[in-house]
């Protein structure tokens, strides 16, 4: 068998700068695309609930389109095909003194757009799981639709949404490998670059697989913690702060606690 343990251990334990950049990009793109997906998904889910066809038809079209075409095609279409057609070209932009290359922007937007369609369905199901009596109670207290959603329905829907949301992020971490086709140097493309120089394909692909396993396993621990804190359960909700969307608990969570 052609397997060099030294190369394997070296790249696993002392990854080169190229690898670390790839790891960093994978995480960054995953998180930003997920945030974009959640925002789009929430907007789409709320529009989809409307009885007005001007609001819900575009959403149905969007979900149909995103779920009906391969993500890889969407990525290439957004970055390469639109530019080739002379319709839109992603340019590098400078943000806070940092140059963000066009292909990274395209990667985040493509993954986020795709994720938004799936999140829309997840959030819609979460909202649908909230008891009708909750709406009636809120309405009878004089709440408008926006207030009812923000204060009563979404915090309860959030508990139903958390478990599938965790799974979506797991999928997102792995889907970032697809943006290697538009030249974003995430983990997979970093690996490809190193293999083309060293020809140690077996060892390096094993390393990249282990890296992804590590990422998804770490996320798994975090996900279990999330579910214990916010997920649906029979026991009463945790005291005050944790139970409300955008409450203190969530902010703590966003800060990484």
């Amino acid at each position: 068998m052609n397997f060099n343990w030294d190369v394997f251990w070296q790249y696993l334990l002392q990854p080169s700068g190229v690898y670390l950049t790839g790891l960093w990009l994978t995480c960054l793109i995953s998180v930003l695309a997920m945030v974009l997906g959640c925002v789009l998904g929430l907007a789409a889910a709320l529009m989809r609930l409307s009885r007005n066809p001007l609001l819900n038809l575009p959403v149905r079209f969007y979900v149909w389109l995103m779920r009906g075409t391969p993500l890889l095609v969407q990525i290439v279409f957004l970055y390469t095909a639109l530019a080739a057609g002379g319709i839109f070209r992603f340019e590098d932009v400078e943000l806070f003194g940092l140059v963000v290359p066009g292909n990274i922007q395209a990667a985040i937007i493509a993954l986020g757009l795709n994720e938004g369609a799936y999140m829309a369905e997840i959030i819609r199901a979460g909202i649908g799981a909230v008891d009708k009596g909750q709406y009636e109670a809120g309405r009878s207290l004089g709440m408008t639709f926006a207030k009812l959603m923000r204060r009563i329905v979404l915090p309860q829907a959030f508990r139903v949404i958390v478990p599938p949301l965790g799974n979506e992020f797991n999928v997102m971490l792995k889907n970032t490998t697809l943006v290697s086709v538009i030249g974003v140097q995430e983990l997979l493309l970093s690996t490809q670059m190193v293999t083309s120089a060293t020809f140690r394909v077996f060892e390096l692909y094993l390393v990249v697989a282990i890296y992804f396993l590590l990422l998804t396993t770490l996320w798994g621990f975090f996900q279990r913690w999330l579910e214990a804190r916010f997920g649906q359960s029979d026991r009463p909700a945790p005291p005050a702060a944790g139970s409300r969307m955008f409450g203190r608990g969530t902010l703590k969570l966003l800060r990484g606690r």
């Binding site: 008891d131 009596g133 909750q134 009636e136 109670a137 309405r139 009878s140 207290l141 004089g142 709440m143 408008t144 639709f145 207030k147 204060r151 009563i152 915090p155 309860q156 009463p236 909700a237 005050a240 139970s243 409300r244």
Partner: protein
Amino acid sequence: MAHKSEELIIEALDIHKSFGDLEILKGISLQVRRGEVVVLIGASGSGKTTFIRCINLLEDIQGGRIRVNGRSMGYRERADGSLVRDSERNIARQRRDIGMVFQRFNLFPHMTALENIIEAPIQVLGVPRAEALEQARALLARVGLADKAMHYPSMLSGGQQQRVAIARALAMKPQAMLFDEPTSALDPETVGEVLQVMKQLADDGMTMVVVTHEMGFAREVADRVVVLDQGELIEQGPPEQIFSRPTHPRTRAFLSRVL
């Protein structure tokens, strides 16, 4: 009772309501004066729950008018007499005047009893938090649950939840309260505590419309008992008249089944 006046709080005129082809309410009119306690009785399916849900617009109506405190609720009348639904914002504003208590309590499960009560005053009326909290504690004491402020609904019995729900509705300082079978989902041993709170409320002069199967409550607390049958108001009057000398044969048939 002592607080009654001639001032009309709720006026429902010729209310028609259908679900598809099924006509649930066939032109019901009801007037409720300030401080009056009106109890609606009737067989299930007679339309009494639907009727009080129409009063605060949880159900659309196909015909008729509703006025609360002299102001038209939810609909504007076109020149040809047809009804147009008012804007969501106006309807939300009008609902503040009417408190509602539901059969299944509908407390917000992600909030404590205290948070349930302060939610609408703060979010809808813009009451300062400190003031809302003070008022909420007073209301909890009034329904006998001062020690349950920090409890979540899932930690409370049905009767306790319903009393919190009553306090929550009262926190909006409504002109009138609607009760939709408030004791039907309760264990028998907790029915009494809820009826006690409602009786206290009636004695304090609150205007109340109550849908219930508790004939004892109707007899003791109601100023007027209204009998619905198959979407029509067939008889109304003081409780002693309705229970002792009902005139309509269908009232007699209904009472003989439940008493």
